[in-house]
């Protein structure tokens, strides 16, 4: 395996912003989100406009929380699930900042974060905002069925999180450092069922994790938490089994954003998914755990299923990818 992990020495997490819908606010992590709405329209006229609002919120809150101003931001890197990344593209009309759009399906949060980190570590950028969003209705109507369709969803299906998460990363020191990142490669586990993306994505997550540990020559327990984006119930178990089989057991350390964001009695089948799943849990909850010293080191692996409905109808299997970013608490030098 070639080396795919990059170590940073001057990238800091300066501020984060999260904005979510009502179901996420009512979930177990509700108190960790900065902004929420009463319904998924978020005061807008249609679903796509609602998702743009969530994304804009997250970016603005991240900038405010960082103590910097919009003028200090050199670049915004953002992505979403909707065709041609229109949510991000159109939301950027309100921000006079150079922009790079990215697509990584549900791995977009860490894909944008690691890209921004590499840019900052190069010394050519000072402050970058990375952001991603997803919305239950925009994803349903694009990838699956109309939102009022009465079809029966199987228990393996995941529920797209309505929300957006953004982070401002900077060369200005803060108490949370982004120390390393591993860029994923496309892994096809020969799974054909789009209703069970967790199983398809788990091998990609394991590939990135193993390369991360091997490249840095560390064992999983270097971290206090290893958090996957949205493998949810079934995919998480597949990942644990694979990692044990490969002699890198992560059972005691593993958490999954898709499992954390909703509670048992919120009817969400196998758990949460979508770009926002990993984004809001990482930038809302994991960040707070680091801030308050409940953990010192966290590895977040966002997973993405890189399919669309046409590929499924053409009987293709589902290629997936996983990107990992390591966060560590550090001393702020005065």
């Amino acid at each position: 395996m070639e080396r795919a992990t990059y170590v940073f020495d001057r990238v800091y997490l300066k501020g984060t912003g999260t904005s979510v819908g009502p179901l996420e606010k009512q979930g177990p992590l509700g108190e960790y989100f900065d902004r929420d709405y009463e319904n998924n329209y978020c005061g807008e006229k249609n679903w796509e406009a609602a998702e743009r609002r969530l994304l804009s919120d997250a970016i603005i809150i991240a900038i405010i929380n960082s103590g910097l101003k919009l003028e200090d931001v050199d670049l915004i890197i953002a992505g979403d699930l909707i065709n041609q990344n229109v949510i991000s593209n159109y939301a950027m009309r309100d921000f006079d900042v150079p922009f790079l759009g990215m697509y990584g399906a549900c791995s977009t949060s860490m894909q944008t974060l690691l890209t921004g980190s590499i840019f900052i570590n190069s010394g050519m950028f000072n402050n970058i905002v990375v952001a991603s969003s997803s919305h239950n209705a925009t994803a349903e109507r694009q990838f699956r069925y109309p939102t009022e369709y009465g079809g029966q969803k199987p228990p393996t299906m995941t529920f797209t999180v309505t929300g957006a998460g953004a982070a401002l990363i900077s060369s200005i020191p803060s108490s949370i450092k982004i120390t390393a990142a591993t860029i994923g490669r496309v892994i096809d586990a020969k799974q054909k069922n789009p209703n069970d993306m967790g199983s398809a994505m788990a091998p990609a997550a394991s590939d990135t994790l193993i390369r991360h540990f091997r490249d840095l020559n560390i064992s999983p327990d270097y971290y206090d938490m290893i958090v996957t984006g949205d493998l949810s119930q079934i995919g998480s178990q597949v990942l644990l089994d694979i990692m044990e089989y490969e002699n890198y057991p992560i059972n005691k350390l593993h958490h999954d954003c898709g499992k954390m964001i909703y509670s048992e009695d919120q009817k969400v089948f196998a758990g949460g998914s979508g770009c926002a799943c990993c984004a809001v849990v990482t930038f809302g909850y994991i960040k707070r755990l680091l801030d308050t010293d409940q953990i010192k080191r966290a590895l977040v692996v966002a997973t993405g299923a890189l399919l669309n409905p046409m590929m499924t109808l053409q009987k293709e299997t589902i290629p997936c990818i996983a990107h990992a970013v390591a966060f560590e608490k550090c001393e702020v030098k005065p």
């Binding site: 319904n39 998924n40 329209y41 679903w47 239950n136 209705a137 349903e140 109309p146 939102t147 009022e148 079809g151 029966q152 069922n193």
Partner: protein, 116 residues
């Protein structure tokens, strides 16, 4: 009693549909499309009419009856008008269903908003 028959026949057809979705991993779109063909098939052997006599609405409510109605209308018109009656009469019995579905779907879409 026709109510019991209606319950049993409608229930059984739905049960078959559920098994096709669960065991054979077909989508509702697939299953309904195939069941319409089954309804037309049963009518071509004059069996569907007997099912309707036995179970009343239990045989009319499932989507299979749509296939039956299409074929039934087609053949009835063909009796009168010859071969091209098949095309002319096909929607005779299903017209009210399709028309009302279009009208109601349109009105609901105009006056309601999806809740997500």
């Amino acid at each position: 009693m026709i109510y019991l028959n209606a319950f049993l026949v409608a229930g059984t057809i739905c049960l078959l549909g559920q098994l096709l979705v669960d065991v054979f991993k077909l989508t509702p779109g697939h299953v309904t499309s195939y069941f319409v063909v089954v309804g037309a098939l049963l009518d071509s052997f004059s069996l569907y009419d007997r099912l309707i006599d036995f179970a009343g609405a239990g045989a009319l409510v499932p989507i299979t009856s749509f296939g039956h109605s299409l074929l039934h209308g087609a053949l009835a018109k063909a009796e009168e008008m010859g071969f091209f009656g098949i095309a002319m009469g096909m929607f005779d019995l299903t017209a009210s269903g399709i028309t009302s579905a279009i009208i109601f779907a349109f009105l609901v879409a105009v006056f309601f908003k999806p809740k997500g």
